[in-house]
Amino acid sequence: MQSGDELGPFRFQVTREQLVRYAGASDDYNPIHYDDALAQSLGLPGIIVHGMLNMGLIARYVMAALPEGTQLEQYGVRFRQMVQPGQDLMVTARVREADAAAARLDVQLAVEGGKPAVMGKMTVRFPGALG
């Protein structure tokens, strides 16, 4: 792996069912993730995907593309646009720098044909590398 390498695009959709499961699993019962009328009354287009679900899905696709046992050390994101269930989504990553022990990547999730909705940076440590 070297600087400039790209991972993805990984394409998927988030369903309403996933939002309900994630709300339960993360104990996040903010109604903007399950109540359309309430979400609209607060100025949103309808229910939106949890930022943390988007963050977790980016990590899922990127980490699955790296060697087994790779550890996530640091990961930060900015939530730029709302993501709604049923939209066509795309995760991509680009290696900023890498050596045998670790790599830093720029990652993002975008609605197909749209602007990036979540942008972030990750630092990963490869298996067998000493901390």
Binding site: D28, N30, L42, E68, Y75, G76
Partner: protein, 152 residues
């Protein structure tokens, strides 16, 4: 509505002890569609050198105190602007984590959509052996509409 006491900025919350349960890890891994068995099968986790099921990295969010001294957030409509984690020792089922949180910063901005409060909440968790398992920072956004929504 948003209640904020600026004199309490930076003050750490009382530590909260959170127990990490196998079922919670399995449910979280399933919600994200993670298929690595270290999150679901104890033997697989042990074979990879862990003491028990391993929490997925962003499981840390389930342990965060979004409330911190001086801050009371509205129940509905709080938006998440940014999130950062730095992980240390692995979080495994059976761990007892001591979590503290504090408000790092609060700004109020006026934009096209009206006024909004931008709140940075930091937190840290240490395991039963005194090892740090994560540090986190969340940037939360409370818009005027949300702040003034009644009865929520």
């Amino acid at each position: 509505m948003l209640k904020l006491d600026e004199s309490l900025l930076g003050q750490r919350s009382e530590p909260v002890v959170r127990e990490v349960e196998r079922g919670a890890i399995r449910k979280f891994a399933a919600a994200l569609g993670l298929d690595d068995p270290i999150h679901t099968a104890v033997e697989a986790a042990r074979a990879r050198g862990y003491r028990d099921l391993v929490a997925p990295p962003t499981f840390a969010v389930t342990l965060l105190p979004f409330e911190a001294p001086g801050l009371r957030l509205p129940k509905a409509g709080v938006l998440h602007g940014e999130q950062e984690f730095e992980w240390g020792a692995a979080i495994c089922a059976g761990d007892r984590l001591t979590v503290t949180g504090w408000v790092e910063d609060v700004k109020t901005r006026s934009g096209a959509g009206g006024k909004m409060h931008i709140i940075s909440v930091a937190s840290e968790a240490v395991n039963q052996d005194g090892e740090r398992v994560f540090r986190a920072k969340a940037v939360l956004i409370v818009t005027e509409e949300v702040e003034h929504a009644v009865g929520r």
